[in-house]
């Protein structure tokens, strides 16, 4: 992430300058360092101050800033599903065992059910809904469809997000790398063989596409 941030610094700064309040881009909240303390406080809520009970926070999800009311104990998963109606991330176990709730937080695949919503303030969240560009599915999504890397589809959003993160870190994974990379995502229908094919196919098409 740090690499990405530093290379994007200038464009983000200039973007920030020209921006009115209201809609915030994905870029604005990725690093606290880019924002003045006051700006950060305005967007994130005061740092170091206690949050008790119901509080309105801002989360940056799929490139948009959302204001929503949560409690400190509200998980990121519940915030996404129950408040923002982003139901792509699924609740399979609610205990960090199944990976159905996997989302990207600052580019890393994490369990949304094990993350507090208040802890996700100031971070960039991408859910499975944010991977496609409009109607154009991402290479990973396309490959899952083409290779039939899904059956009932309930675990699929988690697997797609985990596979996306895996390929970002390792564009040319071996079969063992793929198995390890997806080890946190359970699929009861048993789609794994086709998922492995899909990830390999996506890797190939992403390498071709640069």
């Amino acid at each position: 992430m740090s690499k990405q941030n530093s290379s994007n610094k200038i464009s983000r700064r200039s973007f920030l300058k020209g921006m009115g309040s209201g809609i915030l881009s994905t870029a604005t909240l990725t690093t606290g360092g880019l924002l003045s303390k006051e700006a950060a406080a305005r967007i994130l809520g005061p740092e170091g101050e206690a949050i008790r009970g119901r509080t309105t926070i801002t989360l940056t999800v799929n490139g948009r800033a959302h204001r929503l009311a949560v409690e400190p104990r509200t998980t990121l998963l519940s915030a996404l599903r129950d408040r923002l109606n982003l139901t792509g991330p699924k609740e399979g176990c609610d205990r960090g065992h199944c990976g159905a709730c996997t989302v990207l937080m600052d580019g890393k695949a994490v369990l949304a059910c094990m993350t507090l919503a208040v802890d996700a303030r100031g971070k960039t969240i991408t859910t499975v809904e944010g991977l496609a560009k409009g109607d154009e599915l991402s290479p990973v999504q396309k490959a899952f469809v083409e290779k039939d890397g899904l059956m009932c589809g309930f675990c699929t959003p988690g697997l797609v997000v985990a596979a996306t993160a895996l390929l970002q870190e390792n564009p040319n994974p071996t079969l063992d790398d793929i198995k390890e990379g997806l080890a946190g995502n359970l699929c009861r229908c048993g789609t794994y063989p086709k998922v492995f094919e899909a990830v390999q196919t996506a890797a190939k098409s992403m390498r071709k596409g640069g």
Binding site: R95, V128, F144, L150, G153, R188
Partner: protein
């Protein structure tokens, strides 16, 4: 009615096509019951009994009712007030947020009078064990089946093997738990349910609530899998409906993961005392089995012995045993994986005694003509001849072995209705009150219509998962495809006939003079006179054409065979079994979609491996509750445990459509167990074959060896 086209003439059917709902599912846009979030939604939850056996003396919900955000409370949800397993519903709440719901559930004060219980089958079978049902013994009267003269059969045998085999309780563990989202529109109830049977749930809930069936609508567009656990209406649905009625708001009630483990269904265990005999030329003569199984507080814990083999004399006595545990439900090929574990290992033992190759021995005793071919085909592809002749032949820490086992399945197609609506612009809807439980039903509905009408798939909108659509059965028993496939074909044919009539009228010729090809109607004697699909549909003017069809005989078959081969490596230091490869031969009749069919076979095999090596419900004898009711303690197979799988389809298109979801999960565990024996010379009599069980068996074997 015509039969299916020949394979070579098909342009859509039997091809490997990606599923139509794939894009929605990979983009997170497919809405499951759990995702339903209408305005004003209330979150409902169940308070369940922590005790395996108790009388509910008093439920004090006054604190619950006082909690801000609580909108409705029910304390009369249990039908009798006597609970018989930990996890039974005691009370329910609807609240404005998940947080309030959770707090509310903590505020119930329930007084229980606890009762003695039996947590597992062994304690339930002891003399003077506490009874699960006061007026009935725990061990039910046996079901006895058989034929021939068993004593005579054993008397004329040259070799006999016998033993005790045990299999575990396995839970369905679907990723989406059971649950419903419901709301009322006046006196009509709308239910979104994670179900395998929209019509069945409609009828069941109507009965629960004493309502007319036509005032209940059940919808299930996408569901997070069932495997048999979601064939029946749930009490939670009726509870949600009552809460919705009381509050006038939509209510969602999903079981928690733990509640799903406790009460969402399971595959019964089995204890089998068995004996099998053959003559020295390898013909089976007799089989005897006395078996026990627990379906918790439910029944039907049977095991389908003597499995696939032809035995002239056999007898099987089965006893269901009640325990204070959640009731079993149908689970992918009920009674069959248990049977393959027992019978296929007995067959191997007997083959060894007769000094015969296990494959050769099976060929002598398997009367199924399809499977005779499949055994040979699979053996060749797998490389069966590479198998160690002597078990445990590898030296060193890691030992490799090979095994095989058979599968079987019975049901075929049955009554299903469908409707097709054709629009003047050439598009059409195909509606059927079936459901797509992840098997690709929606996709092949469109494929069948596209094939029959010779029109592009994208013109067709397949619609299912709604009890307002024509009736179809539950998605269970591998009956869906052989039921729905023919029904859609029949409906398409009728649509074709109606369109031909329209064309005949328009062209002023008898319909018998017309033919249909590539979506075009033309005159046989003068093919230049024709109407394309679009022109045909335009004849409808401003009307739509509504056509009804149904399942008919002759397009599907009953009966499935199949076999599997497994190669494993056993780590003799730790007892860990690694499955290296599974080769599966699956007979599929006419395959409608090769891609999704292959996925189903893969999935069945992986569930079979999971059953063989990993899964087991553990009941705590002290508390009578399940101790591993979460995915962190109850392991279901993951990416790392997935071996190489080769699926070989044995096409028999002349048989029409047959089901495939269940049979391939049957043989996997037994093929692995036989491979473990071949690797180590040690037989595993109990599932799952966990590392410590394997190691214990290896050590016992080694010790026995030293004494020799």
């Amino acid at each position: 009615m015509a039969g299916w086209k020949s394979l070579k003439d098909m342009t859509v059917l039997s091809k490997p096509l990606p599923r139509l709902d794939g894009p929605d599912k990979v983009a997170g846009q497919a809405k499951y019951t759990h995702d339903m979030h209408p305005k004003g939604l209330l979150y409902a939850g169940l308070l369940v009994s922590p005790h395996p056996a108790a009388r509910v003396v008093k439920i004090d919900a006054s604190k619950v009712r006082r909690l801000p955000g609580v909108k409705a409370v029910l304390t009369d949800v249990h039908p009798t007030g006597t609970v018989r397993y930990a996890g039974e519903e005691i009370a329910a709440v609807a609240a404005t947020s998940p947080e309030v719901l959770e707090d509310a559930l903590e505020l119930f004060e329930v007084e229980y009078e606890t009762l003695p219980f039996v947590a597992d089958i062994d304690s339930a079978m002891q003399e003077n064990a506490p009874r699960v049902f006061a007026n009935r013994p725990n061990i039910r009267d046996p079901r006895v089946r058989g034929e021939g003269d068993v004593d005579a059969g054993f008397a004329r045998a040259d070799a006999v093997v016998e033993g005790e085999y045990r299999t575990q309780v396995q839970t369905h563990s679907t990723l989406e738990t059971h649950g419903s989202m419901v709301y009322w529109e006046g006196d009509e109830l709308v239910i979104y349910d994670s179900t395998q049977a929209v019509h069945g749930v409609r009828e069941g809930v109507a009965k629960f609530l004493d309502m007319p069936v036509n005032k209940v609508r059940v919808v299930c567009k996408h569901m997070g899998a069932g495997f048999g656990s979601k064939l029946q209406p749930g009490r939670y649905t009726a509870i949600a409906a009552r809460l919705a009625k009381e509050t006038g708001a939509p209510v969602k009630l999903m079981l928690t993961r733990k509640q799903d483990f406790l009460g969402g269904g399971n595959r019964p265990n089995s204890i089998s005392h068995v004996k099998l005999a053959a003559t020295k030329d390898g013909k089976l003569t007799a089989f005897y089995a006395k078996t026990y199984g627990t379906a918790g507080i439910g029944t039907n814990a049977g095991i389908r012995l003597p499995f696939i083999y032809t035995i002239p004399n056999w007898k099987h006595e089965h006893y269901d045993v009640f325990t204070n545990a959640g009731p079993a439900r149908a689970f992918r090929a009920p009674g069959c994986p248990q049977a393959s574990f027992v019978m296929e290992q007995l067959m191997d033992e007997l083959a060894e005694k007769l000094n015969m190759d296990p494959l050769e021995f099976r060929l002598k005793n398997d009367s199924n003509a399809t499977r005779q071919k499949e055994w040979r085909l699979g053996a060749k592809k797998f490389g069966w001849q590479r198998r160690h002749k002597k078990p445990g032949a590898d030296t060193g820490r890691y030992k490799r072995g090979m095994g095989l086992a058979a599968s079987i399945w019975w049901p075929g197609g049955r009554g299903t209705k469908a409707t097709m609506t054709i629009y003047p612009d050439g598009t059409l809807d195909v509606k059927c009150g079936t459901q797509d439980i992840g098997t690709g039903t929606r996709t092949y509905m469109a494929m069948v219509a596209a094939e029959e009408l010779d029109i592009p798939m994208k013109r067709i909108r397949p619609m299912l998962g709604d009890s307002n659509f024509p009736k179809s059965g539950a998605s269970g028993g591998s009956t869906t495809t052989p039921s729905v496939g023919p029904a859609i074909k029949n409906t398409s044919e009728r649509a074709k006939t109606k369109l031909m009539d329209l064309a005949a009228q328009f062209l002023g010729v008898p319909a018998t003079d017309l033919a249909w090809d590539s979506g075009t109607v033309y005159m046989k004697t003068n093919p230049v006179k024709k109407l394309t699909w679009d022109e045909l549909c335009q004849l409808l003017g401003t009307e739509t054409l509504e056509v009804h069809g149904q399942w008919v005989e002759g397009l599907s078959s009953r009966g499935v065979a199949g076999c599997q081969f497994a190669e494993v490596t056993v780590d003799t230091w730790t007892g860990q079994i690694q499955v290296n490869k599974i080769v599966a031969v699956a007979d599929c009749g006419l395959i409608l979609n090769r891609l999704t069919t292959e996925s189903q076979v893969n999935g069945a095999i992986l569930q079979g491996i999971s059953y063989a090596l990993l899964e087991e419900r553990h009941m705590d004898p002290e508390t009578g509750t399940m101790v591993n009711a979460n995915y962190g303690d109850y392991k279901i197979l993951g990416a790392k445990e997935t071996p190489a799988i080769e699926v070989i389809f044995y096409d028999e298109p002349e048989r029409g459509v047959i089901g495939i979801g269940e049979p391939p999960t049957i043989p996997t565990n037994a093929a692995i167990a036989n491979a473990v024996y071949n690797a180590t010379g040690v037989r595993m009599y109990e599932l799952p074959m966990t590392p410590d069980r394997v190691l214990t068996a290896l050590e016992a074997h080694q010790f026995a060896g030293k004494e020799d």
